[in-house]
Subunit: 348 residues, 2 copies
């Protein structure tokens, strides 16, 4: 159960994925708890450690070739790498005590141990792929169910630490890249409509994080009193409307303001190619514009998958892993600029 | 007396010139009036036209292969090109009635007819070259004096339309590029010191224009009661102090803030290489940074002379001459970006 680097970028992102021009990724997670143990808010350290130990073994046995990262033992940079790769939550990284994550091949499937719930099962897919993700997580859930006795009520469904997850324990999230709607100041209108149909909008790194670089995450709110299929369809059927809206505006902007749009995109490219210091925020902003440029066919030689990777690889912990040492903010800005510059030079 | 294009860039700028890292150009002009004619403020149109006609002929006869531009007949774009090339003043371009300019080979020598005075003789040289410029303008002045009876008083010296020019009628101006002093906010201190020793500070296009892109023009104020040599020395001997100050700060910035300075310069280069729309102000700002980058050896393949040319060739009228038609502001921004981009691509 070891061998791969923590935070190694999963295949899920390297693939472009369906509707990859607007949809960065689809994520499904299931919250699960073990029947014989108290919820984590009321557990003592000894039993929490015993739970982690037991789950670690069971995950090793019933998942396909997982790598387990012991997050209590991991360095802060390794933990942060997993956050940046969307493999674990910030809460799990910043938590205390016995906890970990089992990651399947390519980073598609991961199971967090002792996050808010005993288990958080997650599948990540590039692009808009709710049905594939659902099939994969269902298969994993069934294998886990064969080995673990989950806390379940026939009336309520799966029992979870937080009441908002009771029922299916399921969250479907789609990460959208909406630069044209941001640039034309229409994104608030869209997000308002989203919230009206009981979907939530979150930032680039999930709950409580900010939308960054024109990225918005749409996910379901309700988990109680509706089936998994309903939840899936509620998100999956709504997203194509936003995708079409974003696409239309990209084309419209290009048709009606070609010089301005080309200028914006090529300036971003020039900054990425030439800057010697790049903050995290700047990298997000310029990569966002570059992503549109690739989609609109303005910039050749660069693929969406390559840009997607850069979003992750230019994050602070990934830069420190690449450098092989801790870097303060100015040093990170220098490494980030050098990394992006080198990458773009190799692509051309 | 024709053949060369109006506003063609003079050789004076294409050469790098002494102290070319900080000194863009040296200019000397002499104000002269013809004894038999009233000053231009009190002349009627008929006599003004007769004066212009007579001077045009005399300039043709006593200068070496001049091209005469009739500015009453010239198009606004052609007039503006001559302003942008520093060949004529804005006042002459925007004036009315019979007026013109005779331009010698390479644009080094030019003689304006019916500007504020009947004649304004000018020599332009790249870099800090006061002695060469003085030798050239003296030779030209002597040839003109052999053909024209100048208004001269044994007590006061040359008589001029404006009392501030009476005496020598001479102005020595040095165009300085002071980015390090601007970036470190020390330029005001320097300019204050300059004004204390009775030198004037002017903008990129002379009297009444703004300092632009970190360029400052230093020139003498007094023309009365001092010799030409004194005037020349007052400017020429002071400039090297500013040059040394600017140079030290460029080195100091590079030594102490290398990443920040490289970042600033390479970002400017990235904008010039990649932008699809460039305003005049942006071009000045980025070219200014590029000029420092070339001087500090950070950017190879580009010469100071090439950057100097770009300052002029990216001005509005030059862009319109290149395009062969009138361009509104957005179209100029597009042409400017395309021109700079093409130029830098050819240099690399």
């Amino acid at each position: 159960m070891s061998g791969r680097e923590p935070g190694t970028l999963g295949e899920w992102l390297s693939a472009g994925g369906p509707e990859g021009d607007v949809v960065m990724s689809t994520r499904i997670r299931l919250a699960r708890n073990v029947a014989d143990y108290p919820f984590l808010g009321r557990i003592d350290e000894r039993r929490k450690a015993a739970l982690e130990h037991s789950l670690r073994e069971k995950l090793g046995a019933c998942l396909d070739a997982p790598v387990y990262h012991d997050l209590e033992a991991a360095t802060p940079v390794d933990r942060q790498c997993l956050v940046e790769g969307h493999v674990i939550s910030r809460d799990l990284a910043q938590g205390r005590g016995a906890r970990g994550v089992a990651v399947g091949p390519g980073g598609v499937l991961s199971v967090m141990v002792n996050e808010e719930d005993h288990l958080r099962v997650q599948v990540l897919r590039a692009g808009l792929a709710p049905d594939e993700a659902w099939a994969e997580i269902l298969a994993a859930d069934r294998r886990l169910e064969g080995a673990i006795d989950f806390a379940f009520s026939p009336e309520l469904g799966y029992l979870t630490a937080c009441p908002t997850n009771v029922g299916t324990g399921m969250r479907v999230s789609v990460m959208l890249h909406l630069p044209a709607l941001v640039w034309t100041k229409q994104v608030d209108k869209v997000l308002h409509a989203v919230s009206k149909i009981n979907l939530a909008v979150r930032g680039f790194y999930g709950e409580g994080t900010q939308a960054l670089g024109d990225f918005y995450q749409i996910s379901n709110q309700a988990t109680l009193g509706r089936t998994e299929e309903d939840t899936l369809r509620a998100v999956a059927d709504y997203v194509p409307h936003i995708v079409a809206f974003e696409r239309n505006w990209r084309r419209k902007l290009l048709a009606e303001h070609r010089a301005g749009i080309e200028d914006r995109i090529w300036r971003a490219y020039g900054m990425l190619e030439r800057a010697r210091l790049l903050t995290s925020e700047e990298a997000m902003e310029y990569l966002s514009a570059l992503r549109v440029g690739v989609d609109l066919g303005l910039i050749g030689g660069v693929t969406l998958a390559a840009v997607n990777e850069l979003f992750i690889l230019t994050q602070p912990a990934h830069l420190q892993k690449l450098a092989g040492r801790e870097l303060d903010t100015p040093a990170r800005d220098e490494h980030r600029a050098a990394f992006v510059r080198g990458k773009l030079a190799r692509l051309n």
